[in-house]
Each structure stands twice: as C-alpha cells, then as structure tokens.
Symmetry: C2
Amino acid sequence: MAGSSSDRLTESLKPFFFPRRIAVVGASREKGSIGARVLDCLRSGGFSGSIIPVNPHADVIDGLPAVPSLLAIPNPIDLAVIAVPAHLALSVIDKCAARLVPAVIMIAAGFAETGERGAGIEQELRTKIQQHGLRLIGPNCFGVMNLDPTIRLNATYTPVLPPFGPVSIASDSGGIGATVIMAAQRLNIGISTYVSLGNHVDVTVNDLLEYWEQDVTTQVILLYLETIPDPRRFRQLAERIGRRKPIIALKAGRTTAGQSAAGSHTAALATNDWAVDALFSQCGVIRVSTLEEWLALAMAFSNHRRPAGRRVGILTNSGGAGVLCADSCEKEGLVVPLLPPSVSATLASFLSPLAAPNNPVDVIGLATEEQHAAATETLLGSDALDALIILYLSINVADNDQAAAGIIRGIRAARLAGSRKPVYLCWMAESDRDRHFTVDGEVIPTYHAPDIPALVIRRLLSYEAWREQSVEDVRLPPARELPQLDVSQAKAVCAKALAERGPGWLTTEEVQALLGTVSVPLLGRLTTDPDEAVQAAETIGYPVAVKLASRHILHKTELGTVCLNLTDGQVVREAFHTIKDRLAQAGKLDLMDGVLVQPMVSGGMEMLVGATRDSHFGPLIAVGLGGIHVELLGDVRFGLAPLTNHDVSRMIRNLNGYPLLTGYRGRPAMDVGGLEDVLIRMSYLVEAIPDISQLDLNPIIVLPDSQGCKVVDARVLVQAPFEH
Amino acid sequence: MAGSSSDRLTESLKPFFFPRRIAVVGASREKGSIGARVLDCLRSGGFSGSIIPVNPHADVIDGLPAVPSLLAIPNPIDLAVIAVPAHLALSVIDKCAARLVPAVIMIAAGFAETGERGAGIEQELRTKIQQHGLRLIGPNCFGVMNLDPTIRLNATYTPVLPPFGPVSIASDSGGIGATVIMAAQRLNIGISTYVSLGNHVDVTVNDLLEYWEQDVTTQVILLYLETIPDPRRFRQLAERIGRRKPIIALKAGRTTAGQSAAGSHTAALATNDWAVDALFSQCGVIRVSTLEEWLALAMAFSNHRRPAGRRVGILTNSGGAGVLCADSCEKEGLVVPLLPPSVSATLASFLSPLAAPNNPVDVIGLATEEQHAAATETLLGSDALDALIILYLSINVADNDQAAAGIIRGIRAARLAGSRKPVYLCWMAESDRDRHFTVDGEVIPTYHAPDIPALVIRRLLSYEAWREQSVEDVRLPPARELPQLDVSQAKAVCAKALAERGPGWLTTEEVQALLGTVSVPLLGRLTTDPDEAVQAAETIGYPVAVKLASRHILHKTELGTVCLNLTDGQVVREAFHTIKDRLAQAGKLDLMDGVLVQPMVSGGMEMLVGATRDSHFGPLIAVGLGGIHVELLGDVRFGLAPLTNHDVSRMIRNLNGYPLLTGYRGRPAMDVGGLEDVLIRMSYLVEAIPDISQLDLNPIIVLPDSQGCKVVDARVLVQAPFEH
C-alpha cells in the first residue's frame, strides 16, 4: 500500500510529533504574548525533551536559559516553533536552514489571510521552504500536540490537555481546533495528535493522512477543512486509509457558486459544495455539518465496539426521554424491537411494578443502583438487540451516583459474561453533565441529548456498510472494457471547433459526432430544408419528432420549436415551416442550424446526465430525473471523475426517484446498467478532454430491460481549460 | 376574546398557582421518599404561604406540626399535594371534597400508565373529580411551580429553582419537565409557571393555555406533549393565544401509523404525525424536534427584541467559527451582507491589522476588551443589519472576562444610542460554558454552538411572518359563498350506499353522484356495454379515454385497463373488449362495474387531492403532485378540516412542485384558485359527512388560467364513524 515515497514523507513529519529538542523563537517574558503562552504550554504539558527559548533581549525566560539566536544553539534542533511577527519570520527561516532544523511550526499570522501584502510574504516563505527542503506547519496556525505519554508535546498556546487516546485531528482553523481540544477534555475523548494547519504553505491535510496511516496510536481521524488541497490525492488517500481509520470531516465554507452564464442545468446545480459531497461519498469520508455531530462521532468511533445491526434497545428512567429517543431511532432508520417475552419477564422480576419492562424499558425515576445494574446487564445480554442506548435523566442530583454506579456495574457484568454489544449513554443530569464513564478501560460514549445516540448509530452502520464493500471490487473500468470508445476522435472534434470558432457551444452536427465517438449517440438526423426533413422522417419511420437545432437557443420547448408525434410527411413539412416561422418572429432566424428529425421514444424514463468542470475539483458528473423536475425537486446526484463502478451505482441508487427505474408499480424495469455505462463513458470523455467545459444529455431516455439509453437532446460547451 | 366561561376556568386554576395554604398529604420523614422531597422543595423554595404536612404517623415533620388527616385541619385549604400511593389516593380525594379543597396535585403514579388495573383506578378518580367538582393536576406527575416572587411555589420534587421570567411550561413527561427546569437555571431562562400534566385526568394543556392567556407574567409558552387532547379546542386556543404569546411545542411519539388496509395514497401518507404537523402549522404553533432547539427558542423568544429582516451581522474572534456560522445562516435562508464601506472603515480604525473588518467580522483571538466593545457597538449601530450574532471562542480561559466585559459594554452603549437590534451570543468557552449575559435587565440569548443562532433567527422570522397575517383575513368560507354545494344530497348518497351494502367503496356511479353534489364532478360517462361506450364517446367528442370502472380494483393502469387517446368508435369498441378480456384473464370479471368514457384532458397539471379520517384528529385533507411522484417523492401537504382560506393557500404554496403551477418556464399558469376551491369543498364534504372515511381525487388535473380542475379518477370509502 504505502510505497517508499510514503515512508519518506512520514519520516519527514516525525520531528513535528517526536522532537527531542525544541527551540521556541520569540519566547517572551511578556505575559499573554503568544511567545510566552507557547513556552508555558510546552513546559506545563510535561514535554519530555529539552526546550530552548530564543530571545535576543533576555538571558533567562521563565527560569530557562535563553539564547539570543538560533545560530547560538550548539546542539542539533529537531523542531523550531516560531512565534515572531510575519515580517521577522522569513529571516528566522534562513537561520533554521543554516542550523539544519528539519521542521518548523510557524504560529505567526499576517500572511495571505490579511490580503495582498501578506500573500507576497507567504509566497516568499513558500519559496524559501522549498529551497531549503525543510518542512513547515502554518503559518497562521495554533500549533501541534502529541499526547503520547512518552513525549507529551504541547506546542500550542492552550494549556488544556485532553486525555491520550485514538483520535488525531487536523484543523484549518486554529480556533476550531482549540475548541475541539478543550471539548475533548470535557467529553473524555482520547486524543493522539493534533495539528493546526493554518495557511498550509507546506504540510497539508494529505501529508497528515499519510502520516496517520503509519501512526499506530491514531485510529480515528478528525478533519476541519475550509479547502481541500489536491482533491485527487485526498480522494486516493482517504479511500485507502479510511477503511482502517474512519475519517470524520467538518467541511465549512459552503458557498453558493455563481451560476454558469450559459445557464446549464448541471452547472447551476453543481456548486462547489456538491463537489465536496461527491468527493466525500466517493472516498467514504464521514461528513458532518456541526461541531456537535463531529464530537459525537469522534466519541463513538473511538470505542472499537460497533453495532452489528439496526436493532436498538432503549433503557431509560424517564418515559419522556425514552419516547424522544425512540422517535430519533425511527427517524434514523433504526428499529426499536419488542423484547422477547423472557427478557421482559426477567426485567419485570426485579424492576418496580410501576416500571415498563418493554422497549423502551422505563426503570422509573426512583430506580435503585441494583435495578440500573440488572436492567443494563439483562439488555446487553439479549440476542434480540444490536446496541443499547441508556438514558438517565436526573431529577435530583443526589440520585446520580447510584445510577452511574449501577450502569457501570451492569456494563461490567455484561462484558464479563461475553456481551460485545456497544452501549451509548445519554446522561441528562444538569448539574453533573461532565461525568465520564469508563468501564475497565472501555470509554463509554456519553451524550447529553436523547436524539444523539440514534444519529451516531446510523452513522456507524453506514460507515461499516461502506467499509464492507470489497476494495477489490471498486474499479475504474479500463477503456478496453468499454467497446466503441474513441477518445482521440472525440478530441479532434473539440479541437477543431475551438480552432475554428473559439470557445462556445458545439453545433448539433459536432455534438452528434462527439457523442458518436463514445457510442452514446444523439438520436436523429440533422436536416436543413423541408424536403430533407421529410426524407429523414421516411427513413426513420413515423411517428417522428421534429425539433429546432441551434447551438445558441436553450429553451426550445418554451419557444414552441419542438413538434412531437408527427405521423406523415405533410405534418413534418409543416413543422419545419412552423419552427422557422417561430424563430423568424423571435428575430432569431440566423441562430437556426436546421431541424433534428428523431424517432419518437416511448416507454422509457426521462433522465438527465451532465458534466461540468469545477476549477478546483475537476470534472463533476451529474445524474438525475429528467425534465423540469430536476431543477425544481433537486433529485440529482453528483460524482467526481473518474467515476468507478461503485460511484455510478451509488449515484443512481441514491436518487429519490430510483424506484421508478426498477419496475415501479407494474412498469417495466429500466436499463440501469445501460445508464451506468453512459455515466462511465461521460466520465472518460470529460477526463480525457479538458476542452469540454460543460456537457448536458437532457433528456436521455433510459429504456426498459437491456435496450440501453437514447439521448434526445444534448449540448456541449468547449473552452480551452485555462479560460474556465 | 375570552368570555365568562374562560374567566371561570381561569379562576378555577388559580389555587394551583396562588395558594395561601397547602396541605401535603403523604408528607414523610423518610429521606428520599416523594413525600419528604415535596415538603423539602416547598420549604426550601421559600413559599410565602403556610404548609401543613398530613401524616397519620407523625406529629412533627421537619420541624412543622403535622396533622393525621385532612379532616383534622381547621382552616380552609387552597391546594392539596397528594404524594401517597395510588391505592390510597381515592380516599384522600373524598377527604379533599369533604374539606372543600378546590385544587389537588396528585403526584402518585400507578394509574393508567401501568396497565388495566391502574386504568380502572384512574377511571374511578375521574368520576370522583367530576362528582366533587374539584380541579386536579396529574396523577403520575411531577408537580407545579410558580416562580412569581410574591408566591415562590415549588410543589415538585426537584429543589432546583430557575430565575423568574416570562416562560410558562406544560409537560406530559415529569422527567422532561424537570430537565427543562434544571436547564433553565443553567441557561438563565426566566420561568413563570411550570405544570407537569401527568395523565391529565382533569386539567389539560388546553385549560392551561386559557389560564396563561390571562396570566400577565406568561409571555412565552413551552409545551412537551405526547398527546393532544381535544385537537379542535387546542387549534382554536393556540391560534388565538399564540399571536400574543408564542407557543413552542416539542411533540414526541411520532409513530408510523399502520397503512390503511385499502392502501389509499392519502391514508398511507397521513400518519398521525402528519396530522400533528398540519395542526401546528394551521394554528401557528412553533414545532421543534429536539430538546436543544426547544430551549434555544425559549431563550430567544424570552427576549422581546426580534429581527426586522434577514440581514445578519457576524462578529467573531475566530475565522473558523465565523465560517461555520455563515454557513448556517445561508442554510437557514438568511443573508450575511457586505458591510457598508463606512462601517468597515470604522472597524478597521480600531481593530488589529490582522483582523477582518468584513462580514463576518473577525476581531482575532487576542482582541482586547475595548475592541470587543467597539466592534459590538459599531455593528449594532449599522442600518445594514437586522440582527447581530457574536461568536466568542475561548483559547485561554484567562481571556474570557475581558471579552465578556467588552461585549456587554458594546451592547449597553448601542442600546443607549438607540439600537433596537437583537443580539444572539454563541459563547464557545469550554471551561466557562454557563456564563450569563444580562445587560441592564435585558437577558441576551446565549448559545454554545455556532449553528444555533441562525436557526433561532429563522424561526423568529417565520413566527413574525405568521403573526403578521391579519387575523380578520383568516376565514372558513361559509357554505353560502360556495355555489352549488349540496351537502344534504351528498349525505343521502353515502347513507344509501351504507344502508344497501354496508361499509365499503362507493360505485363509480355513486362517486359521480357524490362529487356532483359539491360541483367537483368526476369526468366522463359510465357505460356498461360497447355500444353505449361508443355512443358516449361520440357525444363527448374524440379523442377519448376508456377506463375500467370498478370499485374493487385499485391499480387500473397496471392491469392494462386504461386506454388513452382513442380516436374513433372502432377503437373505443375494441378498448371495451380489451378491458373485459384483461379482467377475465385476471379472473376478476365479476368486479367490473362498466367502463368510464372520458374526454382526454391535456395541458394541465396532474395533482392529487385526498381526505382521510384520523380517529383522534378528524378529517385530514391532502394535496400533492399527482401520478407516481406523490408516493415516491412525498411532495404532499396536509391540513386538518375545517380548512381556512389561509390553510389551502399555504398547503398548495408549500409544495416543492408549486412553481409548476405558476407558469414555470413558459408554461401557462394553472388555476390555483380553482384548486383551492376544490380543497375547501372537500373539507366541507368530509366535515359534514362522518360516513366518508376516505376520499381520493387522483389524479385531478388543474387546468391553465381560470379553467378550473378536472377529476379524472376518484374513490370514496364509506364507513359508519364508529367502525373507523
């Protein structure tokens, strides 16, 4: 899996996490300054190596002997933390290079995030880093932590240290990263390493993914991202690493991308955020949209126990909390099954007569420690359940200790008896919210709202389902497996159009030629006079459709230039004239390329297939229900090229309207395989030809059984890539 | 508004909230017992009246002289709190009656919630209450609070008292109610009164709504409901009271109603929870689905300042938090506008050069108190914004005090300068989460997650939009305004069918008769032989559709018994025979009533209108996009009968597909007024005729302009009401 270049990369990042000697440049005696805070955090965190403050104006800082410059340090330095202002930072980099410091954390702000001048300094920094071959995290960042007990590195400026554990974090925002670190302490989430990426001039999230792949303590990866550098590399890495170490991403910055001037369906729908969604679902990244969900999943994935199925037991001391939790289970697609009579009987034998020994099991507010313990053990022991949610609602703070003790005893007893079922706790105790539950080393995921455990279980199940897809089965069908696909000829069509007319829409003739090369032909014959149209209709066979062919006019139906179900030569001739007249009336006669004479297609399902090109993410392929519904109801799914067999399958099956393709209410099943083939071919086409800026097959009719698809209308926009 | 019966009701509930003398029956010396806890809470809460413990086994309890029985108390008692077990409760009620106690809170559990035996006791209790004419809250409840400083009544068993303020709470669950009370203390939500409804044998949520309407301290109403007793009264009260005092409801118990055996579209979609949604949106109740949202809105609505529009300013000390907040604003349909250059310039004049004086405004992590204050004041002073969200993310706990002081100073200065804009605070300070912000008496709504303020603002704006609908404008069009509506004749059709055949589907003939009486006729002529069919077709004019008429067969298209676009007598005749043959092949010839010959309808929009009858909520009317999309895409909206003009307008306009009715992309606008008229007529019909158990107009074609609607297929199920 990881080649030697990956090993080299990992090796280059080690000094950030396992340094023996750290220089703090800009260490200061001024309380509250970043330099003073960093030094304080490094020391109070219990760093196991040595710390050398660098400050030209002090001999001793906070009891440590200081040096005036990096150059004055005699021994090798593994890591420099730079807390000086931006305008001084560049010269420090030179000194790092002179002292052969392999790794630098640059906390200083004042770079590209502040405007043009800062961007200039950042570019100089980038150049220097590359020249000197050293690695840099930041600038404009919050630092790095490694909570491994052998090193205890806190090179940040928050003194809060969460417990050591399986979660590693990378954050584009220092503030969000710091908040998570502090929340992790409160919520008992074990952290391995933490990196604030800042402006990621050198080290990016992709580098960290490769590092964490090798790092044995990292088992769960948390990302807060505002941008995704090199999405292709990210996709490759995330797909590989995520199968062993779940990646949970909070991607912020969902902006409304401006609609393409040409008003393509695909472009309008495909904002940047759709591309992010497509990317994440293609490589199994678990996307969350709130901090709360992010932390909730971090907690759940940190525990190695996973639900084997959707059957959830609910144990509560309040009927209301049980109902809210059951509601959330149903909403998340989980099942709250009836308990087997024997289990209910067991529960009834030790619970109060006022209790409800069903599912949810309500032990009632005044349950004893013994009852909490026995109920927990009983439910964890039942084969009828895949997971247990325990809700505890505190009416009187004095009751909390015995309830907590009972729950812990119950879990312990069940584990000793061999139960492997996961437990999710909802501890609704107002004055006692930060209680932690650890049972013989197992950290029990603990929440405070009754709707969170169900959400968490659903996400765990989805992740396991994704993971269970056999890796071998995911593939890009090689071009040789796709018969009749001639990309070189397709390239020629686009190049010729670009050379002749510059950027713009292809003519109907060119579209037919282009799609013909990949064997997804646009239906019908282009004709330019009434006689030719009639002749085409006779050849095709009645009934036919006659439509305006124009690369400039988008909404042909609205203009009344689409005539359907024409049954003889006379009406075809009339249709030709009607279309011409309508165009003349609209003053657009010069935009007419001719008319397209097509056989009528019936009995199929009208769909849309499109492709657009995101300047950052590359080609994005869309599939959706066709016609006017696509825009209005938004039933469209996206995938980034190159599409794999799994991607196309998932895109189509995730459509709300998918049942319409599978033999819905007596209709025939449609050729889903044929549609998948079209998507794969379009992916190849736009991958191979960067000149294609936008492509719409709309509608494309998916026919029943294995009759394939018919493209009824299509548009292609070509543009040299740099003009996009 | 409130008549004298309302005054009497309010008077009858006063002893629960303003008692002068309380007897605690079952007051106990046993620590941890409910009786002991209630007594303790009453005393520690600082109740201003007198408390008389009732216990046959003690002379003094907790320092208070006790009496052996209610009968031994010489003076009048305003309120009895009963904390004895269920089997003793009934005799205590008799004693209450003997002593003329007007109000009883029965905390004891062991009634209907525990099964059949308990239900029996509960019935006896109900009977006794009615006989004696006293008012009762409970049983199986958590008690009552009134935090008015003149009374300070805590007749519950949690000692936690939140601050006094504008929110009153009713809860079907004692546990959820107690949690909210405790959370209110933590979150600084001011509470007026609190009632745990328990099994609501006597006092219901509706009674409390009437009480709170009159209660001057109650300004915001919070409901946790598992059932809604008397939904019609609730609707009437909530609509009236909610306009002055927002009602925020957490309705739990969303169950999947079993599908109607007959498999009607409407019935399958119209689970009980759809009825709740319909009810709440019809009477302006703000529905939430989580405790977190419930509390967040309680906080926001407690502050009388409301955003005047959608333009939000974001002030943050962390770029990441600002991005997350801006994302949530966009998601909630709010606007984060560019700041006017003068405002940005003002901000830049006092913020760090590293800060971002745009919107979001990032003051950066190390901002001073002065900078926090000035930025807050500047943004609150800008006319370009309707509301301000301030996000503070703590990197070091030592910084929190000055940030908080700065924010408070800024708000104060802005208020003094006349700013009326609301402020929502997101205080992301891990070790300092429970800080409260009160500025000269104004409680600032304070949250901890960056996505909550936007959600809150959206809900506030929706509420104001609902409230601004003029009350006068909401009306049930009286029957005389609906021409050609003959309910008595419609009744006769149903009664005759029921009398002749018992419960079941109406025949096509009966459906035509029934719908004819309300002037929403089912299109076409019913015929029973081929000649008659041809004759009907000639009369109607070609092309026609010929369809199986059978009250027993649902899916006519799937059976191949719908023939469209028939253009002459010969094909009509053939169609008749085909339909008959298909039925014969399927062995269902005896189920054929004949065939319906209809004109072909084109150019309209296929919709569905339906009605079903919920045993609790009554008739529920549905409208949606027609055809197969209704079930698959779920684009249906519901309303409870009787539908007002506002209801039908909202139901139709809330459809995702609504733009298809309004002249979408060059299509003609459809007759929405005609569709509204159909909904009103169906509402009248099912209201007037309880025998109609289910009704589907599917499809109904809405025609362009003011051409009305055409019912193309319809089914009606009749059933005597008690059989439903």
